[in-house]
């Protein structure tokens, strides 16, 4: 779960400390550590609650005390115009620039008679990505508003007693799915320069905190000189300036391609590049009978039945002594981890000659390719058995019978990229998988994650000014500022626990008492 931003960030000072003692997990991993903290956090949240891709209408939901503010500032619904549960056609404008963003339906659901039990609002707008992004950004610029965390609407409903028992049971699964989607989204964003930048800030901030904490806990007995704090002063100033510059930079880092991330993976020479070329109907990747031809990730944007997808061909997964190929394999595994949908390509001729053993073989093959947490999620994978032209018709029928009998495998398609046999069925399966994924508002929309990162950074910068304010009068309150800043940044790069800070202290100083 991406931890939340407390409502007060926009007012500057209202931060709530949430120091976790859960050690951060993998680098660049946005979240996932247990943060029940947000189970019932206050503040007004918003999110896109319809899918993207080919959809005529997008629904943006708002829940919390500032819902009426959103209706007033963006749809011109002053108090006298507010009518509960009635759809009104309004111009939706940016609260700052007053520019008209779209024309659409707005609804007001005063609490407690709403899904979450709180005051809520809905904006039904046109489904284009530009309109959606503009409306979400406009909402985010209002005081007290923040992007919702995974499952937060449902959690609020749960806490307001709005959910039945069966719905509550589904809540955990829902949150799991949403956090997973956000995790993949975050992984994509964090693996580039932006990720390195955030990591660098985090490690510098950790060091600042460790040095302030060391000065508080040990300086009376130890050789920790006041100079330590002067270094922290400089570092904090630098960090603040860098973050502010970054926030002002309109480029907002790399623009990520929007769409469902489809990754083709498998052993060498299974025909992954051929599949890519077949799908995009042009020779986008080099195809040769030599194993290990594809070494880097080849990426193509595709429109599959009207849904945006980014198709990536990856290096064949094998142990190789070749340094370049090894890097290719590492990148391939990274891509599979970030994928919304993985197409696992298998060479039919490599299957066991006894068709009865095929399901077990495929099961084992899948677990060597898919990341651990996704082995059970068969809906996020398609198994493509390629090169059907190389096997006998009789064996093929045996295989199909066996596959039908077995359970636990993802959908299987038998194709031949050489003869285009089975391609139609495969495209239909791919289309329905992608359609299902597009129905989930969380896959493939980088702007949402970016908005969240931005909010956390703003909070971080604000917290750092608390350090300066109290630096000379009360070091406990100054340290509190750095703690808050690190907590905010930790929501992007992974949480930082007290133990980690102590590790730095003991590495940098000789504490003898």
């Amino acid at each position: 779960m991406l931890p939340s931003i407390s409502a007060g960030i926009w007012r500057g000072a209202q931060h709530i400390l949430r120091t976790s003692r859960v050690a951060p997990r993998r680098t660049g991993l946005c979240t996932c550590a247990g943060i029940p903290g947000e189970l019932c956090d206050a503040g007004t949240i918003f999110a896109l609650s319809s899918g993207h891709g080919r959809c005529g209408v997008a629904v943006v939901r708002v829940s919390g005390p500032a819902s009426t503010t959103a209706l007033r500032c963006m749809a011109g619904l002053t108090h006298s115009l507010l009518t509960p549960r009635t759809a009104l056609l309004r111009s939706i404008t940016d609260p700052q620039s007053k520019e008209v963003l779209d024309r659409g339906l707005v609804l007001w659901f005063p609490g407690p008679h709403s899904f979450t039990g709180e005051d809520s609002a809905e904006f039904h707008i046109h489904g284009g990505p530009a309109v959606i992004t503009a409306v979400l950004q406009a909402l985010g610029s209002l005081p007290g508003m923040r992007p919702a965390e995974a499952g937060e609407f449902t959690r609020r409903a749960f806490h307001a007693g709005k959910l039945g028992l069966t719905e509550v049971e589904g809540l955990g699964d829902l949150i799991h799915a949403e956090t997973e989607a956000q995790r993949r989204q975050a992984l994509r964003q964090m693996c580039g320069d932006l990720g390195r930048l955030y990591q660098d800030w985090t490690s510098r901030l950790k060091r600042c905190l460790a040095h302030v904490e060391a000065f508080i806990d040990f300086s009376e007995d130890e050789l920790i000189e006041d100079g330590v704090l002067n270094q922290v002063d400089t570092s904090v100033c630098d960090l603040q300036a860098e973050m502010e510059r970054h926030l002002k930079d309109e480029r907002r880092g790399e623009r990520l391609r929007s769409g469902v991330q489809v990754v083709i993976a498998g052993a060498t020479n299974a025909g992954k590049s051929s599949l890519l070329n077949t799908l995009c109907q042009r020779p986008a990747a080099i195809v040769s009978p030599i194993a290990g031809t594809t070494r880097d990730v080849v990426e193509t944007a595709l429109d599959i039945g009207g849904f945006p997808a980014v198709l990536s061909d990856t290096a064949g997964l094998r142990d190789s002594p070749d340094l370049v190929e090894r890097e290719g394999v590492r990148r391939a595994r990274e891509r599979v981890e970030q994928a919304d949908l993985t197409l696992v390509v298998v060479d039919c001729a490599q299957l066991p000659s006894d068709a009865q053993q095929a399901p077990a073989f495929l099961q084992g093959h899948l677990s060597s390719i898919l990341p651990t947490q996704e082995r059970s999620q068969t809906e996020r994978c398609l198994l493509v058995l390629n090169k059907t032209d190389l096997v006998s018709e009789e064996w093929r029928q045996q295989l199909e019978t066996e596959l039908r009998r077995s359970s636990g495998l993802p959908p299987v398609c038998l194709i031949s990229c050489q003869t285009n046999e089975g391609l139609q069925d495969f495209l239909a399966a791919l289309h329905s998988s992608i359609k299902a994924l597009c129905g989930d508002p969380l896959s493939g929309a980088p702007s949402l994650t970016q908005a969240r990162h931005r909010a956390h950074l703003q909070q971080c910068v604000a917290a750092l000014s608390q350090y300066h304010r109290y630096r000379d009068t009360d070091l406990a309150l100054a340290a509190e500022g750095v703690r808050l800043a690190l907590t905010s940044l930790g929501r992007i790069t992974g949480r930082v626990g007290a133990e980690e800070i102590l590790d730095i202290i003991f590495k940098d100083f000789c504490i003898g008492k």
């Binding site: 007060g8 996932c32 508080i216 806990d217 406990a476 100054a478 003898g512």
Partner: protein
């Protein structure tokens, strides 16, 4: 308070020296094993909550002994002392009695991290603790060594696999039974002493090793996981042999500040305080360490030692080429010895002498007692509940170094809490827990039981999330009221004082808040105190107190009729004004944690087959650690938000069911009891 506390030494030694054969009774509510900082607090606390208590120790004479450094408190540790005192424990008052050099550390860094600290007179400290135990009603002290724990079938109504029923002493006398037992064996659990290349069994030099029976019971019969840790102590130096002109003098605070909320002054008069001296290691020290490494068993072993109180050997090995601080501390008003803080070492005695003589003021120093190292077993504390009870054994409580901590204050804090809960268990009262949102004791215990230890655990203020709320100045308001009203470990005298303080502070804060004036008027009244003309041109008294150069005294002299009745609390009011806005911001987060901590997870929950959707990984974590509350579960490494929600919804459902069935049981029980007389012996 202090004046009454002159211990009648002769008479209490007599009463203490009862032996097993003279035991007045063979049945107690609580037995505490060990007479160190944890044991004495545990015994006193158990007796305070109303339990008939027996303290068993190897040597009555060493009850309350300071085995290592002659000091109490410090940054983080001082917070613990204040909290133990707020719960009516002993160590704060003992420190005020025995202190010979008081100082508040971190004086310039903000009151939330002030560290009250004192050098102690070892003899006075011991005497105070012993006389305090003597005058504690319901408490008996027995000299002896515990051979084994008596165990029986568990009470089926409660979770656990065993139930403790008492102890058997080593001398073969009759067993002594009790409803609960608190083990505070310190470094004595399979302890071995190291000096140079010689190793001998024991937990402290000069004391007999404790019997192997107890260690065997914990490991083999109760199946507890144990680990091994090490610690050490420096040589004691003959004071007359030290050249103080080569060290720099560190004077105590001019006005000593007592630890205890009950004391307005310390026994030691300001001018009678003794100084400390500071000196540094030289390259020669490093040379001696390196050349004697082959003679040093303790250092060669890879048992985990602390990173923050390392021996001089590990300091120079980890940070070579540096000067390291050495504090020369007095051991007492009349003692001929000095304690060289920072020179813990385990090399052979002759090498120790060579080493200390490399330090300028010690160039012709004599060693009275050489330093040595100790290795000892500790019980992995994740096997304990937040009441410090062993989860698998009803009535068995552990506190102090046996739980993997280091330090007097950490031991005292756990001892007090284990004693409280052992007493409550024996009296059939439900366990009580302290939250990490309300106290450092809560932080300490939560860290221990939900995360475990990998090295000796010491308190730092950086461990407390709510540092600006958990201050030394307000420990009484945080804990004394609760200690009386909910826990039952606080005397009514102390309670009344805390109520008076609370009410006066509330009145004073209300008076401050109600005095609202425009900025211009404040300037006229107080002169130039740095009030800036902002758009917020109306300020109340609390706002004013947040300014560095505005004191409560200034306000009191400007508005005498309004504020002078509260002058007693000037400092506390100023501190409160600075932190109030920040604490208000933290309150919501604290409430959330408390809410989660109030949702308890049944200790016997079968996580591996719980009918909710949890991953195998999460199930295994939960099964291994068995967190006692949802709050503790959420802090586990590897927990996912989804898993927390699943647990939450499960606990909600089963909680409702259980409450219903519990109510039915109670109704039934009530009907049964009406017919018969209850055969319960109430404690006096």
């Amino acid at each position: 308070m202090l004046a009454k506390r002159v211990p009648p030494l002769q008479s209490f030694l007599l009463r203490f020296s009862r032996t097993a054969s003279h035991l007045a009774r063979h049945k107690y509510d609580v037995i505490v094993v060990g007479g160190g900082h944890a044991g004495t607090e545990a015994a006193a606390a158990a007796a305070r909550v109303g339990a008939e208590t027996l303290l068993v120790t190897q040597k009555i004479h060493t009850i309350g002994a300071l085995s290592c450094n002659p000091s109490l408190g410090g940054v983080g540790k001082g917070h613990l002392v204040k909290e133990v005192d707020a719960l009516d424990g002993l160590c704060g008052r003992a420190g005020d009695w025995a202190g010979i050099h008081f100082s508040i550390l971190n004086r310039r860094k903000g009151p939330a991290v002030w560290g009250p600290r004192a050098q102690l007179d070892r003899e006075l400290y011991r005497q105070f603790i012993q006389s305090e135990l003597l005058s504690t009603p319901r408490l008996t002290v027995l000299e002896g060594s515990v051979e084994e724990l008596l165990l029986t079938e568990p009470d089926p109504e409660e979770p656990g696999h065993h139930r403790v029923t008492g102890i058997r002493l080593a001398n073969g006398s009759q067993p002594v039974s009790a409803s609960s037992v608190v083990l505070t064996t310190g470094t004595f659990l399979s302890g071995s002493l190291f000096m140079g290349q010689t190793t001998s069994p024991g937990g402290r030099i000069g004391d007999a090793p404790s019997s192997a029976g107890l260690s065997h019971t914990l490991r083999e019969r109760l199946g507890l996981r144990v680990g091994r840790l090490r610690t050490g102590t420096p040589p004691r130096i003959v004071k007359d042999s030290v050249d103080f002109s080569l060290a720099s003098l560190h004077a105590p605070d001019k006005q000593p500040t007592p630890f205890s909320f009950l004391n307005t002054h310390t026994r030691c008069k300001p001018e009678e305080q003794l100084p400390c001296y500071l000196t540094h290691t030289t390259p020669g020290v490093e040379k001696v360490v390196r050349e004697s490494l082959h003679l040093n068993c303790h250092i060669q072993q890879d048992t985990k030692g602390p990173r923050y109180c390392p021996s001089i050997e590990s300091r120079v090995l980890r940070f070579p080429g540096r000067r390291h601080q050495v504090w020369l501390e007095p051991e007492g008003l009349t003692s001929d010895l000095l304690y060289p803080q920072g020179l813990s070492m385990t090399m052979p005695p002759d090498v120790q002498l060579c080493l200390i003589r490399e330090i300028p003021p010690l160039h012709r120093a004599e060693i009275h007692t050489p330093g040595y190292g100790v290795q000892y077993d500790f019980v992995c504390p994740t096997q304990l509940s937040p009441a410090l009870q062993v989860k698998s054994t009803q009535g068995l409580f552990l506190a102090g170094q046996i739980n993997g901590t280091t330090g007097y204050e950490e031991a005292a804090a756990q001892g007090l809490w284990a004693g409280v809960n052992a007493g409550r268990w024996a009296l059939s009262m439900p366990p009580v827990a302290l939250s990490r949102t309300e106290s450092y004791i809560g932080v300490l215990i939560d860290d221990l039981v939900s995360r475990g230890v990998t090295e000796p655990y010491r308190m730092f203020t950086s461990r407390a999330e709510f540092r600006t709320s958990l201050r030394p100045d307000n420990a009484d308001l945080r804990l004394t009221l609760k200690g009386f009203e909910e826990v039952g470990c606080v005397s009514s005298l102390r309670y009344q004082e805390a109520v008076r303080v609370r009410d006066s502070l509330q009145d004073a804060l209300a008076a401050l808040q109600s005095l609202v004036l425009p900025t211009s008027s404040w300037k006229k009244i107080l002169g130039d105190v740095g009030i800036s003309e902002t758009k917020n041109s109306i300020l109340n008294g609390m706002d004013l107190l947040q300014y560095n150069n505005v004191s409560f005294e200034m306000l009191a002299s400007a508005f005498p009729e309004r504020f002078s009745p509260h002058l007693e609390f000037s400092q506390r009011l100023e501190i409160e004004a600075i932190y109030r806005p920040h604490c208000d911001l933290q309150r919501k987060e604290m409430e959330r944690i408390q809410r989660e901590e109030s949702l308890s997870l049944p200790p016997d929950m079968d996580y591996l087959s719980l009918p909710v959707s949890l991953s195998q990984e999460v199930r295994e974590i939960l099964d291994r650690v068995r967190p006692s509350t949802l709050g503790a579960a959420t802090r586990l490494q590897g927990m996912t938000p989804a898993a927390v929600v699943q647990l939450l919804s499960y606990v909600h459902q089963t909680g409702k069911k259980e409450r219903r069935s519990h109510r039915n049981q109670l109704d039934q029980k009530g009907r049964e009891e009406d017919g018969c007389t209850r055969n319960v012996v109430l404690p006096q």
